[in-house]
């Protein structure tokens, strides 16, 4: 979230799209309800009428996978009716930038397309530069090549009738949605978006989010109280795991995983350190070399970062198609992996295309499964269709302590790092994950020291005791290392520090190895003042109380800033756009900023608002994504139509897919749109909640929700068991026949949609059913590789 949970109450219009917040983030509704009590309008856009819809002031339906048509139409509506927040758009977004001559967009394809490799040459999307090497701008927004005009041109195709035709949303609803949301473009109005997996799990997942980010920029809704772009995270600590980058392409603090072509730290830093020639651009990532050196120093204390850089694993490419989840299991299924650690997760149920995932596990030599309950992954060999006598995989199951049995921090959706003390001891001497990881790596180090190996240095020289005290994992020591400390006596910014002093904030990090920090974003979380995440004071100033900021409760990255991009919440003189809900305010050269921690302490107007962008502006035109600088509607890789009204390019041309796997496009065997989702009562694959009797009592079995019209067509009665099938697999589910789902009219044809939860698995309860991911395709977003589990094609029949 750019903002945080409490901040939802400051909103005037809350759009919930791509999420079922009331069911899947119940506590969010504490603040949504407060916003409504203050007069806010809540809009829910979703294929189903859910528990969220019951509380919304307006509910509009769309066929799964057509969000960009709706959002692109909203951009057109805002521009056609000149509802943008002009001062904000001109000063804080790249609307005025001139796009280079190489950029084209023709019939659904952007410039630079390589059809053989299914990639784009992004250099074709560059801005036109002036003599000083800065983007050319036209603040009048009249130049036909400026981003504003290009945006207008791009979305002129997104007419109401076309959107209705492809999305199935009612025209009256569409207009009401646009009118209501676009009204937040006024300086004293805030609109916010609450989204989750309903937006991300598509082959256009990243562009779904970008569409909304662009709308928020056009309406001046980023940086302000009650605004922002708010991803509702599904795990209590998934924000933390993202920040610490448990993904193939990033290192802690969103640093890049190096590539094989980058043979030195200098070469690596050069690629990822942006240079701006505009003195008004803070260009914060110019500090990149300080962060990379400090991370290396945190891992290898006794080495010069220049040397330890060689210890980092290198990628051949940065492509999701080469390294992300779906590819990992594709390669595993081809026998390219020997072992797998399935740690705190249940891929046999959670990954798309479960039958393929489970088959891949049979090709392993070994698997280590760490979990709190027996699960479909560790026990895959005795699952449906498996013959244990023919499976070679050796599985080691390590039970571990649960969250309340250990000390440490979680980082919530609102980026709050919250320290948790330990409750009861884990039973039977079970250990926390930290202890298991520490002991495992310690053992590996010993083995390498004893036996050697192809390249032992990265392992033997790792400063592994940096996270342990007397040979036992130490969460405080780990948190201090994540913050970082000085590795020798140093003077920075006129302040003297001793070796071992905690670093006050990331502004003090250095490139020369005199500082270490396990994650620059968390530098400031554990300082000389102590463990900031453990703070529980509710003290606040009047300004902070006004918008529900609690700067002394826990700690928030970066540097305790509670609302990101808050420099955009004020005008060029530092006066809040909406004084009634001021986030920050400039009070003069002596007293400076009041309210939240500002995005940099510079005086107003001295620096551009979006300090993390190279040029300092919010990106309406985003030339960094894999699939185009403007979001474009493409159909899911499985869809019920042969064409769509915006171009003749049916699917995202660079989507991640495996050519040998068939997809159902207008396939009469699979005529129904399918989607997966969650319920309030279960979590993820249900492993934790299915083992909690009171929750299984409330939601005992897999179900498939369908309209009364579809049920009648298929002769299905409410509550009876039915068969749901896709190209990839088949499962049973209990039919919930409901008025809360309605058939869509798509291009003049009736299209039905059904949905299933993915919380169930064959291990427990015995009559609970299996994972809905048996149906979902191995298809993914080209930027992230996230699978398209929210829109695919199925059939339903009587069991």
């Amino acid at each position: 979230m750019t903002n945080h949970w409490i901040d939802l109450k400051n909103s005037d219009t809350i759009l919930i799209m791509g999420s079922n917040a009331a069911e899947n983030h119940p506590i969010s509704f504490k603040w949504v309800t407060k916003a409504q009590e203050n007069g806010a309008t809540v809009i829910h856009v979703d294929p189903r009428f859910t528990r969220t819809s019951t509380k919304a002031d307006m509910h509009a339906t769309l066929r799964s996978g057509t969000d960009i048509s709706i959002l692109g139409g909203m951009i057109k509506y805002i521009l056609d009716n000149d509802l943008i927040f002009k001062e904000y758009v001109v000063n804080y977004t790249n609307a005025s930038f001139i796009v280079g001559d190489d950029y084209t967009f023709e019939d659904g394809i952007f410039a630079g397309f390589d059809s053989k490799n299914k990639t784009y040459d992004k250099s074709k999307w560059a801005f036109a530069m002036d003599a000083k090497g800065n983007p050319k701008k036209d603040p009048t927004l009249k130049d036909p090549k400026c981003v504003y005009q290009m945006l207008k041109k791009h979305y002129e195709r997104y007419t109401l009738d076309k959107i209705v035709e492809i999305s199935g949303m009612k025209k009256a609803d569409l207009i009401k949605l646009y009118e209501t949301y676009a009204a937040t473009g006024k300086s004293d109005k805030a609109g916010t978006i609450m989204y989750a997996m309903g937006w991300t799990q598509h082959t256009v997942g990243v562009q779904n989010i970008r569409s909304m980010a662009m709308i928020q920029l056009l309406l001046g809704n980023i940086g302000i109280a009650g605004g922002g772009v708010n991803a509702l995270r599904g795990e209590s600590n998934v924000q933390g795991s993202t920040d610490h980058c448990l993904l193939y392409h990033i290192l802690p603090g969103y640093l890049k995983t190096p590539k094989a072509t980058q043979q030195s730290l200098a070469a690596y830093d050069k690629v990822y350190t942006p240079i701006s020639n505009d003195p008004k651009s803070a260009n914060w990532w110019a500090n990149y070399p300080k962060y990379s050196a400090s991370l290396l120093k945190a891992m290898w204390r006794d080495q010069d970062p220049k040397d330890s850089f060689n210890y980092l694993p290198k990628l051949d490419s940065g492509s999701a198609a080469d390294y992300s989840w779906l590819t990992l299991f594709d390669k595993m299924d081809e026998g390219q992996f020997k072992g797998l650690f399935a740690w705190g997760m249940n891929p046999a149920c959670s990954g798309a295309n479960s039958n393929k995932t489970r088959s891949a596990m049979t090709k392993l030599d070994w698997m280590v499964n760490v979990n709190i309950f027996p699960n479909e992954t560790g026990w895959f060999w005795e699952g449906p269709g498996m013959d244990p006598s023919k499976i070679k995989t050796e599985v080691f199951f390590l039970p571990c302590a649960v969250s309340i049995e250990k000390e440490g921090s979680i980082t919530n959706s609102g980026r709050w790092m919250q320290w948790r003390y330990k409750g009861p001891d884990a039973p039977n001497g079970l250990k926390p994950d930290g202890d298991l990881i520490y002991e495992l790596m310690h053992e590996i180090q010993e083995l390498y020291k004893k036996e050697g190996g192809a390249y032992p240095d990265p392992i033997t020289k790792l400063s592994w005791d940096g996270i342990a005290t007397n040979g036992v994992f130490d969460p405080h020591k780990t948190a201090k290392l994540i913050n970082g400390f000085f590795t020798k006596d140093t003077e920075v910014k006129g302040k003297k520090f001793k070796k071992g002093d905690q670093i006050p904030s990331f502004a003090y990090l250095q490139t020369d190895g005199s500082t270490c920090s396990g994650n620059w974003l968390y530098c400031n979380s554990y300082t000389a003042k102590g463990n900031m995440a453990a703070r529980r004071s509710l003290a606040q100033t009047e300004e902070q109380a006004n918008i529900g900021l609690f700067p002394n409760f826990s700690w928030c990255w970066p540097v305790n800033r509670r609302i990101l991009y808050n420099r955009a919440s004020v005008d060029l003189k530092g006066n809040p756009w909406n004084p009634k809900k001021a986030v920050i305010k400039w009070t003069g050269p002596k007293t400076k900023w009041q309210g939240d921690i500002p995005d940099g302490g510079w005086a107003p107007g001295d620096k551009y608002a979006f300090i993390m962008r190279k040029h300092g502006f919010g990106q309406l035109f985003g030339p960094g994504r894999a699939d185009g600088p403007f979001p474009e509607h493409y159909e899911p890789l499985e869809c019920p139509v042969k064409s769509h009204p915006f171009s003749s390019t049916l699917h995202n041309p660079v989507a991640l897919a495996f050519n040998d796997e068939a997809k159902a496009v207008c396939n009469p065997k699979f005529p129904l749109v399918g989607t997966t989702y969650r319920v309030a009562e279960h979590w993820q694959t249900g492993l934790m909640t299915r083992n909690c009797d009171w929750l299984t009592e409330a939601e005992p079995q897999i179900f498939v929700e369908m309209s009364t019209e579809l049920a009648e067509l298929r002769g299905i009665k409410n509550g009876e068991k039915v068969t749901v099938s896709s190209v990839r697999g088949t499962l049973w589910a209990v039919a919930i026949v409901t008025k809360r789902l309605k058939p869509f009219t798509i291009q003049g044809t009736v299209v039905h949609q059904v949905g299933l939860p993915w919380h169930f698995g064959w291990t427990w309860p015995k009559d609970g059913g299996d994972s809905a991911n048996i149906l979902t395709p191995s298809a993914g977003d080209p930027n992230t590789g996230i699978p398209e589990t929210k829109a695919f094609m199925v059939n339903v029949s009587k069991a």
Binding site: A22, E697, P700
Partner: protein, 241 residues
């Protein structure tokens, strides 16, 4: 000061935190359930389910409402179930809080069905294991210790409220005025006669037939046979008790 719940159904998201919190505090086991074509589960109150969120879909003129009703004992100001009591002390009507508490002695009652039959809200059930007649006891143990009932403590949206009766009735009136702007048919149910006051957004019967008392002025439609018999039986039981 006597206590009262105010339950604002316009704010209930049916997260079922209350249903689970009740079982957790009371250490009640789960029932073996199956999906029966509804998200509501268990299907009904029972000897081990004292709080249940009921789900009902209502469609009128193409406009759908999905109504949620977290059901529990209403702790009547003048509890009709007292008339079903034949073993002294099987029901305790706590003076301080107004809680209506069924005790172990209910196991000794001869006509346990009479409790349910006497209840205008169809609440009491029999626990087949202990033989006791059971229902919500207002978490009297928690309340006497200055805590909120478990269901109220867990509610994320402010739908469930609990406190001194005059404060709750004032909150109910205030919430009703607000709710009527969005839901013209919103009303408070049986506020004078119960200690669990529901604010409904549409007619009570659309949620569940026993949301309001059959004797209530807002009751629509004829009495069920069961209700009729219960009415008929009441005075007789009263005479014999």
């Amino acid at each position: 000061m006597s206590k009262t719940f105010f339950i604002d159904l316009t704010k209930c998201t049916a997260c079922r935190g209350c249903q689970v919190a009740c079982k957790q505090w009371k250490k009640l086991p789960a029932e073996k359930t199956e999906n029966w074509g509804s998200h509501q589960n268990p299907k009904d109150l029972s000897g081990i389910t004292l709080k249940l969120v009921r789900f009902n879909e209502v469609e009128e003129d193409g406009k759908i409402q999905w109504l949620f009703f977290p059901e529990q004992c209403r702790h009547c100001v003048e509890p009709p179930c007292l008339d079903a009591m034949t073993v002294p002390g099987s029901i305790v009507h706590d003076k301080e809080t107004g809680a209506v508490v069924y005790t172990d002695l209910t196991a000794k009652e001869k006509d346990k069905e009479a409790f349910q039959a006497s209840c205008p809200y169809d609440i009491p059930r029999i626990n087949t294991e202990t033989g006791m007649v059971v229902k919500c006891d207002m978490c009297i143990d928690r309340v006497k210790a200055g805590m909120l009932p478990a269901c109220v403590a867990t509610c994320p949206t402010g739908a469930m409220n609990f406190g001194d009766r005059d404060e709750m009735l004032a909150l109910a009136e205030k919430s009703l005025t607000k709710a009527q702007k969005k839901y013209p048919n919103a009303e408070l149910i049986d506020a004078e006669s119960v200690r669990v006051v529901y604010l409904v957004q549409t007619d009570a019967d659309s949620y569940y037939q026993f949301l309001s008392a059959d004797a209530s002025t807002i009751k629509k439609g004829p009495m069920t046979r069961k209700q009729f018999l219960a009415k008929l039986g009441n005075p007789i039981k009263h005479m014999t008790s």
